[in-house]
Structures are given as structure tokens and as C-alpha cells.
């Protein structure tokens, strides 16, 4: 069973903290001396969690899932730390309120920034980094891609419904 604790306290991502910029992502990285090899954290840096919440528009991401996405991306993509820091700085500097504002901004037109954003979003939505067995697991049941259809379809292997449920028509 995947160990994705739904820790209400630790998962309460404070988007405003990210936007206030009290601790810049770059500063966090510098202070901790974080490199791809050095990070073995119980939780992702606060700014990463805040950035994940900002980019997905979700305030209830588990810290475990964000940590795994972050670590997976750092392991998979050399320099991801720096690119993520840059993305955070640019969003902060632009004073963007949310992901919709980011999408409408000139920042979304910069391929490097958009690629970094979609990498983090993709890890949290699909629950994995990479596309083969060498990739990194992030989440399964809690992968964000299942939320939009959760009222209709099951996360495969997690059916809690009775035999034959599938014969019922789906209400529009």
C-alpha cells in the first residue's frame, strides 16, 4: 500500500506564504546547501510546497506527495532545483495571484519556465516522474488526474463499489 499520509496539518499549504516571499526558494536552497545528492527530507522545502499549491490550484496537497514529486524531478532532471527556483522568483516578482494569472502572463510564454511548471504539475497529476521503470513513483490513488472523474470512475484497483455498478448509466 502506498504510504501517502493525509496529514492535515503538514499538508495545509499556505499559498500566501509563497506569494509573500518571506523565504525565497533560492535562499532555502542556499541555506540548506541542497543538491540532488544531499536532500533527504521528510518534507519538501516550504516554498516548493507553496509553489506546488500555486501551480495546481490545490491547497490540500499532501506534503509526502509534494516531496516525492520534488525529489523525483531533482533526480530525473539535472538542474531542476535552479529552474524551479527561477520559476518561483519570476512568479513572485510578477506578483501573480494564482495559476490562472500565471497562465495569462508572459511567463507562460517562456518555454523554460513553462516546462518547469508542467514538470511539477505533471508529477503531481500523473503520480510519477519519468516514463519507464527507472522513473520515480509519486502517488497513485491521490494522483490529481483522478480527481476530475472521481464521481464516475474508479482509480484502478481501488473499486469500493458493488459488482455490476458499471451497468448503471452515468448521469450527465
Amino acid at each position: 500500500m502506498q504510504a501517502l499520509a493525509r496529514d492535515g496539518a503538514s499538508s495545509a499549504i499556505d499559498r500566501r506564504r509563497f506569494l509573500a516571499g518571506s523565504t525565497a526558494l533560492t535562499a532555502v536552497l542556499t541555506m540548506t546547501g541542497m543538491t540532488a545528492a544531499a536532500a533527504d527530507l521528510a518534507a519538501p522545502p516550504a516554498d516548493v510546497a507553496a509553489l506546488a499549491a500555486f501551480l495546481t490550484g490545490k491547497s490540500d496537497l499532501s506534503s509526502e506527495m509534494v516531496r516525492k514529486a520534488y525529489e523525483g524531478l531533482r533526480a530525473q532532471e539535472p538542474g531542476f532545483d535552479q529552474r524551479l527556483a527561477m520559476l518561483g522568483e519570476r512568479i513572485r516578482a510578477a506578483g501573480l495571484a494564482d495559476v490562472e494569472a500565471f497562465k495569462a502572463s508572459a511567463l507562460a510564454g517562456e518555454p523554460s519556465l513553462m516546462a518547469t511548471a508542467t514538470a511539477l504539475i505533471g508529477a503531481l497529476y500523473t503520480g510519477r516522474v519519468g516514463h519507464d521503470w527507472r522513473g520515480h513513483f509519486v502517488a497513485y490513488q491521490d494522483a490529481l488526474m483522478y480527481r476530475p472523474t472521481a464521481d464516475v470512475t474508479v482509480v484502478p484497483t481501488y473499486s469500493r463499489r458493488p459488482s455490476g455498478y458499471w451497468a448503471q448509466a452515468v448521469q450527465p
Binding site: M1, Q2, L55, G57, V99, E100, F102, K103, A108, M114, A117, T118, I121, G122, Y125, T126, R128, V129, G130, H131, D132, W133, R134, G135, H136, F137, V138, Y140, Q141, M145, Y146, R147, P148, T149, V152, T153, V154, V155, P156, T157, Y158, S159, R161, P162, S163, G164, Y165, W166, A167, Q168, A169, V170, P172
Partner: protein
């Protein structure tokens, strides 16, 4: 008992066919020893491994990876194991664990049609079988009873909308499965085009059956039923063990030893540390997957007087119609597939082009949809909205086509070695004009499907061959020892006590999943051996 022998019968390979043959012999009081290259595995551990696997589209990766028994894919040893040297890349899905490759399958359990056994004499193509439908019918029925097959007794499985066909001596042991709303809609639209959408017989329990719970619609039959509602090879092996067969896991057969009179007198096998043991038996059954069985025969230099071992390799080359329909369809609810269209499965057209079957999977589309949207740069609220919109409208129809036996499509021994020093299988594979002629008809049908479902977006490549896990022909059956490997009883033409329980013996592919016919042949050959011992 076996006297001075280690066993009456040694079965190489603890998959669904080896398990069924072993059970039949053990029930007759024969001493049966089953050698399996891979380890034992447990469903709950596999489920955990699947859920934590990074790539849910890789059906092999979450199964054990071992240097002495590589899989077809999904690991550092397995990825380079099956080598492709021909025009098409094909690494037929293969697992090496107790239970074998049907740990991950959708459990389609079709009978062949009587005409599938007579392709040459009826249509002038390919080869005839030396046996016919009537020879197999009792064994089809027994295999369905053992496995708890669910099906529709009223369907004409030739796809013509006629009376129930092919003939059955007993009804399906379990009732047909309720169709999902998705399947109901697909069936109605297809029938509107003039096709006859019918049930796919399968091994998901539709009600509690011999300890298996009824299917709960986990939408994960392949790669793993999480609750054991579906019959899988491990269950066949467990039945054999309960009947008295002994299973040795992590035991890699690598040499068949011949003795006086051309009989096989021993099987040599290694444990993962390289320790070799020689085991003797009166009879040997090779049931080690249709890629590994010819490999073992080639390594041993047995059974190949015809030169056909490893040749005539066949599959069901497939084409995919993937779209977004106009209206919500909602795949992702219930089992992964339930039915299809058999209208082009048989008929005079087989004289000039491959038979065709259309199947209708309804697997959860969320991962593919999300990946595609992210590639398009869709984020924010639109991403959630589009996931719901596109997932609801995602559709796939698979066209499975027939193949003819061609000696140049073959398995040979490669130069790479596993950790035991055993060679890898090398595959040369291509699709011929007979199958390509079928693809022309498929393309026309796909256009009709576009109209029926008012397709908004086409996805994927409609003309790219996808090669199924179904492996046939590699130890081909025939009446003539000069051109075939086994006879109609699946007995080696060259070794009277060597039998092959494998879909590799098929001289024709039909267009349906081959496992039931393989199971019927396995039960039948076990009966024959039982009579002779």
C-alpha cells in the same frame, strides 16, 4: 509412482497450460514435477508493487526482475533479453513467475471456430490442423468448467447474428457479465452500422466461484486483478499442487537429454546460483511459453528434424482506433473489456485477406489524457475540466488480424547471455501481404466508426502495427514430420515421450485470444500421457 525415475512426468513451466496439464495428470495418480524458472509470488505483494510502480503502462515492470530468468520487458536484465533483428519490433509479453504470463491478462477465453482448423483446405491459405473442432470440443468444455468461464450461450461467435455457434456440449458455467454503460453504447452504435456486437467469454467470476469473489469492476484485469476474481495461471498451478503435483520454483530448465530410442530421458535445470540438477521422467511436457519452449529445444538440439522449431512465429497484428467521441461515453468503469465484433472473423474473404476481430477496451483513460493535455500546455482549471471532458469521451477499438505461418518469422538463439550463461531469444518478425490486405478493410471500418461516434479528435497512429502478447506457431503442429514439430496430440514427431503444451503449436491464429485452445490442447495431451503411463 515412477520407479527409478524422479517423476512420471516433468512439466517445464508453471503457467496456466503447464498447471492444467499437471493437475490432470496428478489427479490420475501420476507423479508430476513442475519446473519453473521464476519465483513464487503473492497477489497482495504484486498489488503493492503495481500501485507503487512509476509506469502503470508497463505490465511487466512490477513483477520480479531476476538475472537468471528475465521477463520480456521492464528491468535491467529484461530490457535487453528479447532481441529483435527483423523489420518489426516485438517483445511478446512474458513473465517468469509461478503462474506465468496470465498473471496479467484480460482472461478472454474464446473457442476457435471449426473453420479455423481448415484454413488451407477451405480458403487455400496457410495450413490445416491435423485435428478439428470436434476433437477439441470436450476439452474446451472441460477447460471452461475448471476455470469458471463466463459467457453468453446464445451468441453466434462467428459474428453473423445466427444461432449459437460454435456447437457446445455444455453451457458456460457462469452467466454472462452485465455490460457497462460504455459497452451498451458501443454495442448499440456498432449494431447500427450493421455489425453484431457480442459478449467476450472470459474468466472473471460473475458470481462467487470456488473461492473467487465476483468481479468488483476494479478496471485492472490486466495487469493485475487485485481481488483474485479472475482466473489466472497461479490458480491453475495451485490446483495442480492440491492434486499432488510438486512445483520447484527458481529452477531453470536448460537442457533436454535424449537417450535410447530417441526418448527424452532427463531434464537438466539450474538454480539461480548455477547449481545444476539432472531429473528423470517417463514423459516431458514443455509448457514454458511459446518463446522459451523453442529456445529450450534449440539449446538442447531436440525435436527439430523438420527444421521448424522457432519458425512460423505468429501473433495477432493489431491496429488501434483511438478517438475523442462527441458525447460522453465514460470508459474506466467495470472490467477492462467485455465484447466486440466478430463479423469479419470468418468467411470467403479469408481466401484473399486476413480475418479481423474488433474488441472494445474500456480501460481508465486518465493517464493518457493527462499526459496529452500537459504536452499541450494545458494547466490550471482548464486542466481539470479537460481531463473530465476528454476522459469521458475517450474511446479505443482494437482490430486484431490473422497471420499466416511463414518460416522466416522465427526465434533463434542470440549471442547475449543471462547470468546462468544461457542465450537470449532473437526474433525476426514481419507482417505479410495477407495481413496487410486485412488492414485495408480495417481502415475502411475505422472511417465508419468515426461517423458512428461523431468523432471530434483522432488520436494516435491508425496504421502502426501493434503486436499482441499472443504467440503462436513457434513449435508448429502438423501431420507431416518433415514440415512440423508436433503431431495432432502435441507430441514431438521426433521424441515419443516429449509433448508441448503451448499456443506455439498452433498452425493458424484465428483472430481470438489463444489461451482456451491452448488449455484444451494441454488437457487433451495430459489425458493421452495418462493413458500411456
Amino acid at each position: 509412482m515412477s520407479g527409478q525415475m524422479d517423476a512420471d512426468v516433468i512439466v517445464v513451466g508453471a503457467g496456466i497450460l503447464g498447471g492444467m496439464a499437471a493437475e490432470r495428470l496428478a489427479r490420475k495418480g501420476k507423479a508430476v514435477l513442475v519446473l519453473e524458472a521464476g519465483p513464487r509470488v503473492e497477489r497482495y505483494k504484486l498489488l503493492q508493487a503495481f500501485r507503487e510502480a512509476p509506469n502503470k503502462n508497463d505490465y511487466e515492470a512490477f513483477f520480479p526482475e531476476q538475472s537468471w530468468a528475465p521477463k520480456s520487458d521492464g528491468g535491467q536484465y529484461s530490457d535487453g533479453y528479447i532481441e529483435n533483428v527483423g523489420p518489426l519490433t516485438w517483445r511478446p509479453s512474458m513473465l517468469k513467475v509461478v503462474g506465468g504470463t496470465t498473471w496479467h491478462w484480460s482472461s478472454a477465453f474464446w473457442r476457435y471456430l471449426p473453420n479455423d482448423f481448415k484454413l488451407k483446405s477451405l480458403y487455400g491459405q496457410g495450413r490445416d490442423w491435423p485435428i478439428g473442432y470436434d476433437d477439441l470440443e470436450p476439452w474446451y468444455s472441460l477447460a471452461e468448467q475448471i476455470t469458471g468461464c463466463s459467457g453468453n450461450d446464445t451468441d453466434d461467435q462467428s459474428g453473423q447474428g445466427g444461432q449459437p455457434f460454435p456447437p457446445r456440449s455444455a453451457p458456460y458455467p457462469l452467466p454472462a457479465e452485465a455490460w457497462s454503460a460504455y459497452t451498451q453504447t458501443v454495442a448499440a452504435k456498432m449494431n447500427g452500422l450493421g455489425f453484431h456486437f457480442i459478449d467476450e467469454p472470459h474468466l472473471r467470476a460473475t458470481k462467487t466461484f470456488e473461492g473467487r469473489p465476483a468481479c468488483r469492476g476494479n478496471n485492472n484485469c490486466s495487469p493485475l486483478c487485485p481481488i483474485g476474481a479472475m482466473f489466472t495461471g497461479d490458480m491453475a498451478v495451485a490446483r495442480a499442487e492440491r492434486a499432488g503435483a510438486k512445483v520447484l520454483a527458481q529452477t531453470v530448465a536448460y537442457k533436454l537429454e535424449t537417450g535410447p530410442g530417441g526418448k527424452i530421458v532427463a531434464v537438466h535445470a539450474m538454480t539461480p546460483d548455477g547449481t545444476s540438477t539432472r531429473r528423470t521422467a517417463r514423459y516431458v511436457i514443455l509448457a514454458a511459453h511459446a518463446v522459451e519452449t523453442p529456445k529450450l529445444m534449440l539449446m538442447s538440439g531436440v525435436g527439430n528434424r523438420s527444421g521448424q522449431v522457432g519458425r512460423n512465429l505468429m501473433s495477432h497484428p493489431s491496429l488501434a482506433w483511438s478517438v475523442l467521441a462527441r458525447d460522453p461515453m465514460w470508459p474506466g468503469r467495470g472490467p477492462v473489456q467485455q465484447g466486440g465484433i466478430n463479423d469479419r472473423r470468418d468467411g470467403p474473404d479469408r481466401a484473399r485477406r486476413a480475418a479481423i476481430r474488433y474488441l472494445s477496451p474500456q480501460t481508465s483513460p486518465n493517464l493518457g489524457v493527462t499526459d496529452r493535455l500537459l504536452k499541450q500546455g494545458v494547466i490550471g482549471k482548464e486542466l481539470d475540466d479537460r481531463i473530465r471532458h476528454d476522459a469521458a469521451r475517450s474511446m479505443t477499438i482494437i482490430a486484431a488480424l490473422e497471420m499466416l505461418p511463414n518460416p522466416s518469422n522465427r526465434i533463434t538463439l542470440g549471442d547475449r547471455k543471462d547470468s546462468l550463461g544461457l542465450p537470449n531469444p532473437r526474433i525476426h518478425f514481419d507482417v505479410d501481404d495477407y495481413t496487410r490486405a486485412g488492414a485495408v478493410v480495417v481502415g475502411q471500418d475505422f472511417e465508419r466508426f468515426d461517423q458512428a461516434f461523431e468523432v471530434q479528435t483522432r488520436l494516435g497512429d491508425r496504421k502502426g502495427w501493434k503486436l499482441a502478447a499472443h504467440v503462436m506457431g513457434s513449435t508448429i503442429m502438423g501431420a507431416d514430420p518433415r514440415t512440423s514439430v508436433v503431431d495432432g496430440d502435441c507430441r514431438s514427431h521426433d521424441h515419443a515421450n516429449l509433448f508441448i503444451a503451448s499456443t506455439g503449436v498452433f498452425p493458424s491464429t484465428s483472430v481470438v485470444n489463444p489461451t482456451l485452445t491452448g488449455a484444451a490442447l494441454a488437457l487433451r495431451l495430459a489425458e493421452r500421457i495418462g493413458q500411456e503411463i
